[in-house]
Amino acid sequence: MQTKIQFVRDFFCYALKGDSRYYTWLGILGILVIPWAYGSYEQLITNGLIVAGFTDQISWAMYEGNFIFLVGVAAAAVTVVFPYYVYSSPQDRRGTVKSLKNVVLIGEMLAITAVTMVMLFIIYHMGRPDRLWHIIPGIGIFNFPNSMLTWDVLVLNIYLVLNIACGFYNMYKRYTGEPMNENFYKTLVYIAIPWALSIHTVTAFLINTMPPRPMWFHSMMPIKFISTAFAGGSAIIIVALLVYRKYTKLEIPDKAINFISQITVWCLGIALFLIMSEIVTELYPSTEHSFQIKYSLFGMFGLSKLVPWMWASLIILIVSFILLMIPSVRKNYTVLPVICVILFIGIWIEKGMALVIPGMVPSPIGEFSEYTPTWIEIFITAGNWAIGLIMFTILSKGAVGVMIGEVRHPSAVGKAVEHH
């Protein structure tokens, strides 16, 4: 027990120490938390959701878009975990997959952060967060299996636990220098892999099982969710890896980066294909059900606030796909992170603004209206992101410390097995 407490202390002591650039980064994020606190006070304590830009017509918007996007980011950890554990076979002669060794933990830290952010956005989505206990099985009522939301609650919480268990067990064993219990660890990992797919599948089911929202109501939603999520999530993993490679002693071979950027291209390609199929299927017959996609792509009845967002995301996705297909661009580590960040933003628009809002416009009775986020909503959203980034920075820095051996139990230094 003492060792465990010491591990947690050492982990966070290391993670919170850094040079001036590190503190500047955390400081910038910290500044964003100030308007967040104001917004939270206004929304959660004083006035309620009325301070946000929702209406009865568009009752889901910014928070829900971020929630859906972040579920995807959480699921995307599997893009590095899956190949490492499933394909690390004798066929891997060139050691491509083995090179992912140090990447897996970063992926898991990303998953933990993203699921936490998902929960944060859900709190802000709820009209009565004080009644959250109503959904806890046992003391509240959990409408399982009827309500898709209960499935989502279940898979997300279990995914969070799985990732904390996998990640911290791995790090703790590295910390103490004890050998891992492979059976236990591998079992966890093999459960976590399909579980990552399940969280995004269920989140897609959450919204695609609603016939009154034709833009969501199609069976392609889960696979489209997963492919865009894997493209965006792996893109942000690449950025994190390049940053850590540059500023710490963590060794990440080029092979690992190249392997992940290939995953990004493939997933992005599949995503674009699915987006194209969706647009053609909706626009060719052009029934009443195509209004939602028409509204978001071209605007209808003079309402066109979403049009620039939609096209921006489409152009970002297509251009990054073309660029990333070129090996020399993909292997240029100055250009790659830039494309990855822009792609991440493009997918954020595609999954947030361009997916959630048009599902609400027109409303089921055919009413067109537009949504404008309020400043408070923007403050809260930015603050949630800042909190998430702070969390990811700290967790992954600690993980890097464990990986490069700077966070180690004193007795473990130079020893394979720990003695109490």
Binding site: I50, P129, R213, I365
Partner: protein, 343 residues
């Protein structure tokens, strides 16, 4: 919005009152309750919100608990609105299944039903204004001989012929092309007919299925009800409802004391709180006492009919047997108990 709340806060001058307003401003019942406990306060409101916060879902309460919950609400509402408020908790009557029929041929679009409903059911009057009934104005439109040769491709001289006729996109008879913001001097207008919508009280309600905490459910008499004290405000039901029947209390509802209807039902028109969903309940406080709903009573042309679907002599049953009826969006298999008909 925030200004308004501050203004209401200023009304009370004494120190005790200010403290209560501070507590009220804290908003979440938990905080208010915790504060009351900590200060050992006898503030009735804080105590009752504290108790309300811990109460169970209405359906799962014992008779004793229901009685307590009602007593708490009656005290709180009576104090808040300055009149004797009753909260009814009566369950569904035996062998009654409520059904509704609306004659779209007769409806003149006067919206008396909308306002009678607001008055009866204690909806928020402003910021945000909540109305459970909306009347959609459906346009009648003429087809024009001038448009015969228009269309797509643009000219009739094209060898391919016209593929989309010039008289396409005329909204006449097209569902969901109407709008509910019409403001004419007089109704009915010549070039329109009217299509009121409200909660359809589906037998297979999608809103009930998606609710994660079962705060909304179908009672035996067929009314889909909401326990406002159990709702977590996730708005899944609003997204799932094909009829756009559900409304959300985005802020604290604004219900003037003098306009408050003191005859309320726990599952119906009792004053709601911020952050919960509400909708038409077939005036549960009236219908469970054998009365007509407010909208039926007020309709000047008798377009609205309400009754027991099990009673062969009820108007609704007579209409189902003799008239041509349809249900809105029948293809979704929600089986509304709200029927439209024509003479």
């Amino acid at each position: 919005m925030s200004e308004e709340i501050k203004e209401t806060g200023k009304e009370d001058a004494s120190g005790n009152e200010t403290r209560r307003n501070f507590l009220k401003d804290m908003g979440t019942a938990a905080l208010a309750g915790a504060a009351a406990l900590m200060t050992d306060s006898d503030d009735a409101e804080a105590k009752s919100t504290w108790a309300e916060w811990f109460q169970k879902n209405w359906r799962l309460m014992t008779d004793e608990e229901k009685k307590d919950a009602i007593a708490r609400l009656e005290t709180r509402y009576s104090e808040e609105y300055g009149k004797k408020v009753t909260v009814d908790g009566s369950p569904a009557m035996k062998s009654v299944l409520f059904g509704y029929a609306l004659n779209i041929q007769k409806c003149i679009g006067c919206r008396r039903c909308v306002y009678a409903c607001v008055k009866e059911n204690n909806q928020s009057r402003h910021d945000t204004e909540i109305q459970w009934i909306r009347v959609i104005r459906m346009e009648k439109q003429n087809f024009l001989p001038d448009d015969m040769n228009k269309g797509y491709p643009p000219s009739a001289k094209e060898p391919f012929g016209i593929q989309v006729g010039g008289n396409a996109h005329k909204p006449a008879g097209v569902t969901l092309e109407g709008q509910h913001y019409y403001q004419p001097e007089l109704v009915p207008e010549k070039d329109a007919f009217y299509f009121p919508i409200q909660c359809m009280q589906c037998e297979k309600p999608p809103c009930v299925k998606v609710c994660p905490v079962r705060t909304t459910y179908r009672d035996p008499d067929g009314i889909v009800v909401i326990d406002y004290n159990w709702c977590i405000g996730c708005r899944m039901c609003m997204a799932a409802c094909p009829y756009w029947a559900r409304r959300f209390n985005w802020g604290d509802p604004n219900l003037p004391k003098e306009e408050m209807n003191p005859n309320t039902h726990y599952l119906g028109n009792r004053p709601r709180m911020r952050g919960v969903v509400e909708k038409c309940t077939f005036c549960i406080q009236r219908s469970r006492k054998g009365r007509y709903t407010a909208c039926v009573e007020v309709c000047p042309v008798g377009a609205r009919k309400f009754g027991n679907l099990f009673d062969p002599n009820s108007e609704v049953r007579q209409i189902l047997e003799r008239k041509k009826v349809f249900r809105l969006k029948a293809e979704l298999n929600t089986y509304p108990k709200f029927f439209y008909f024509i003479d």
